[in-house]
Symmetry: C2
Subunit: 191 residues, 2 copies
Amino acid sequence: MEAMETSETERLAALIERLGRLIYAQAHAENLLPVHWETLRFLHRANRFSRSPAALAAYLGLTKGTVSQTLNTLINKGLLEKRTHPKDRRSRQLALTARGNQLLEQDPLSQLCSTLHGLDTARRSALVQDLEQVLSGSLIAQGRTPFGQCKECRYFAKTHRAGQPHYCELLGEPLSEFDGLQICQEQQPAA
Amino acid sequence: MEAMETSETERLAALIERLGRLIYAQAHAENLLPVHWETLRFLHRANRFSRSPAALAAYLGLTKGTVSQTLNTLINKGLLEKRTHPKDRRSRQLALTARGNQLLEQDPLSQLCSTLHGLDTARRSALVQDLEQVLSGSLIAQGRTPFGQCKECRYFAKTHRAGQPHYCELLGEPLSEFDGLQICQEQQPAA
DNA sequence: CCTATATGGTATCGAGTCGATACGACAGTC
DNA sequence: GACTGTCGTATCGACTCGATACCATATAGG
């Protein structure tokens, strides 16, 4: 029974799992389900190249069919809008409605934030760094998309173009300061 | 739009949420659902005073009714057994079957473990400590049960009794070395 | 001893996830 | 124009999950 002597890695994994369940249990607030909150948060953080059903499915690790249904429920609740993409008529552009953005201000995840606020600043920075490493490591090991920040991407150029301070060398699009902070489907961490 | 400048706490919360989703997406393996794996893990780690439907419901943050159904599906799959508690005929004692224990060796969570193994040892210890603080802080803030380790409890006494090395001063029961490592419904962190 | 009350568990219902499967619409390539 | 891959949708069945109502048993107070 080598399971008796729970190693530190196992305890750590159990901790992360349990924190996940904690968030999950809180996320039934406001008559929504966990996946709904995750969708709203994603659309708030994702850049304009990533606000599509396909990107959301990749982000959540769900099938396209499942995500399609979830989006419909959110649209019926008036939290979300869906339009055909002007340049690729197969694709759909997603956007939060005013009510969607408003609801996001009562995000149950902010309860966790206030607990995190009590941590020592230096240790919190180390925590972010470590968890980021663990997360992207695991995602890449599974062949999934990391969805990192735009400005941390190898294609992010600090080149002025069309009145914007930055530029994406992959998609050939100008980027604002704000764009650089959002997460992107295509992001590949800089070397 | 103060949301544009995502603070470090918000990024940290998002990271934890995303790690939770990562585990969730993996947990559809072996024809089980996430809550099934969590149940199996709980029964593996919980001491004999905590292997009941009520304790599991408190652990998961779900209602008794929901847990009751989930347990039935696991029993139907032959992974779990349920007996009436000999001293309280309202209560049920849960136990993993041989197949249940066997399945637990293919726990998809072990994929995360291997990633965690790559972390620096010192930082990993700090990580465990910090996350433990965050988790128990959040749980207590919500009025929920921390489910800490028996040996970290204020009622854990290093008193020999009935041939066992330790003793629970709350329940008046002798405790083995192994008992001290398991998690308990009644645990209250020592001062 | 008997009754109130609290606690542990179950049964049923409806909304909704979720994977699987099959399908339709459209883009890009030859 | 046909081929092929990608994006999205519709439908089905298993199951979660909260809500509600309910039963069985323990415990406390008179």
